[in-house]
Amino acid sequence: MNEPADGLDVLREILLSQDRETLRALQEELDRLKAQLDDPAALLDRIEPIIGEALARRTRANPQEVADALAPVMADALRRQIEENKDAFVAALVPIIGPLIARAVQEAFQALARRVDERIRRATSIQLIVKRWWARVRGIPPGELVLRDALPWRTIAVFIIDNESGLILAQSYQRQIFDRDPNLTAALLTAIRNFARETFSQFTKKEPGTLYELRVASYIVLMEEGPDFYVAWVGEGVPPTDAHERLQTLLTVLHQQYRRQLRDPAQQEKVQKAIESFLWKLLEEDEEESSQGTSMVGMAVVSAVLVLALSLCGWGVYRLSPRMLAYVLPTTAKHITPTPQAMWTVGVLQEDVTPYRSPDERAERLSHTLLQGSRVRVLDREGKWVHIGYPVEGPFRLEGWIPIQSIRIVSQAP
């Protein structure tokens, strides 16, 4: 009996062992899945990639539908989450929206400062002048002055650009801010201006002398148009209240004196040099201004002019034009007084430099190195290169090209 029983066992083993094995594997799989279902973290690990992909596909196909479906749930969840844990939310959001808020605040301040400027400019009665002057004398700056001091205007560059071709006719730099070649920047500015002007022509009526303003991050480009060319004034901060007038004055002078020469390639280079001294004037006045604070000289002038004005006019409610005011008050309002005599542009080296023979990194270099702090004469500029001569007074013992970032332009010398 034993034998057949053994035989059956063997037979059963043969027939069922595979099934049993499968059953065992299935049971194991079932246990594993159950464990996963019971453990939310493990479950999440599994389905996250799949759901992510499915959602992404769905969102691409029909973004609005997904947004509609998710919005109520998300909003509710977010609200609850914020109520329960405000701090964590703030911590998570600040790095993302912080810079946006900062910029928004900065822009709001600039707008405010401008409104204040505008008000001051309009209300130029003697009383106000006295008030401001008195505030200065007593060392209590009125709020407006504080605002303006907090956000001063710093000129970075001035370009004279041909209205039509967008080519630079003259330029002047405080520092290099553009990655691109200035010629490209000028052409792009012109294209943008053309586009804006033609697109919004029904609003601007293409009036000559319209002031255009372009804002990129903290930089502002003010563009004022003359008949042949326009000025682009690049800076940071709050533009001076009389920016429009200053640019108009500059344009008038340039058009009157240099209109023809600027367009004539044979004269352009020579005229450019002369013009750049006007532009530098704009820059220089800015520099003085930021270092001036409440200067005694300024105050003395205010007092003297004020006394003179009052004695001439008597104590009436007189209104002074903004232009007159600019001469009276040592504010940011400054005027360009072109000096037609030839000027040199002088720069100070910011590092030790070995000049190149031509404006090209591959060009041969001179055998002498000029040391940091040396004063040099600026002869020309081409893109990111400056042509310099040493010593300033000439005759030059050394003449060559250096990268613009190695030099800081300081002033002119007669």
Partner: protein, 175 residues
């Protein structure tokens, strides 16, 4: 002294290869995929040739979107240009015919500018030279020098820009 900086425009129907020609000229590269230009692309490139004054001049190239109507914006883009490259696609004869309109509009804004016609994508027509001759005859009737170019192979691209440079300088001498 000669002028050194020149504004030039790339003008012609959409997808004829204006941007590709500029890319080839600027960076010696070519892309098969098409990305329509929106508005205008501006780039700067020096043309270096021993016969030019100081060996080089600089072109500020305004690469305009093709196929746009002649609006005041386009007119403003043409204005002040000293030269233009009118581009057509040899595989689309209509683009050659359309040059007449582009040239007329451009001339109305910048009458003294120099112009060249580029019949582009010549690499695609290598099998049937006869049709090229016909297109070339049409292009020549517009009264400008005609170049057969390929932004893809680079054929005649450098030559065309250099030729424009020469014409600009020659004209500048009589300004």
């Amino acid at each position: 002294m000669h002028r050194k900086l020149f504004k030039v425009c790339m003008i012609g129907d959409f997808a004829v290869g204006k941007t590709s020609l500029v890319q080839r000229f600027m960076y010696n590269e070519f892309r098969m995929d098409y990305q329509a230009t929106i508005g205008v692309n501006i780039s700067k490139k020096e043309v270096i040739h021993p016969s030019l004054p100081a060996g080089r001049i600089t072109l500020i190239i305004w690469d305009l979107a093709g196929g746009e109507p002649f609006t005041p914006v386009v007119e403003a883009y043409y204005r002040g240009a000293m030269g233009a490259l009118f581009v057509a696609d040899v595989t689309r004869p209509s683009t050659v015919e359309h040059l007449a309109t582009y040239i007329r509009d451009f001339r109305s804004v910048s009458p003294h500018a120099q112009g060249l016609i580029l019949l582009n994508k010549i690499d695609l027509l290598s099998s049937s030279p006869t049709s090229v001759d016909e297109l070339k005859a049409v292009a020549e009737s517009f009264g400008m020098p005609v170049y057969l170019t390929s932004a893809r192979t680079g054929q005649n691209v450098e030559e065309a820009f250099t030729a424009l440079g020469h014409r600009l300088v020659e004209q500048g001498a009589y300004e």
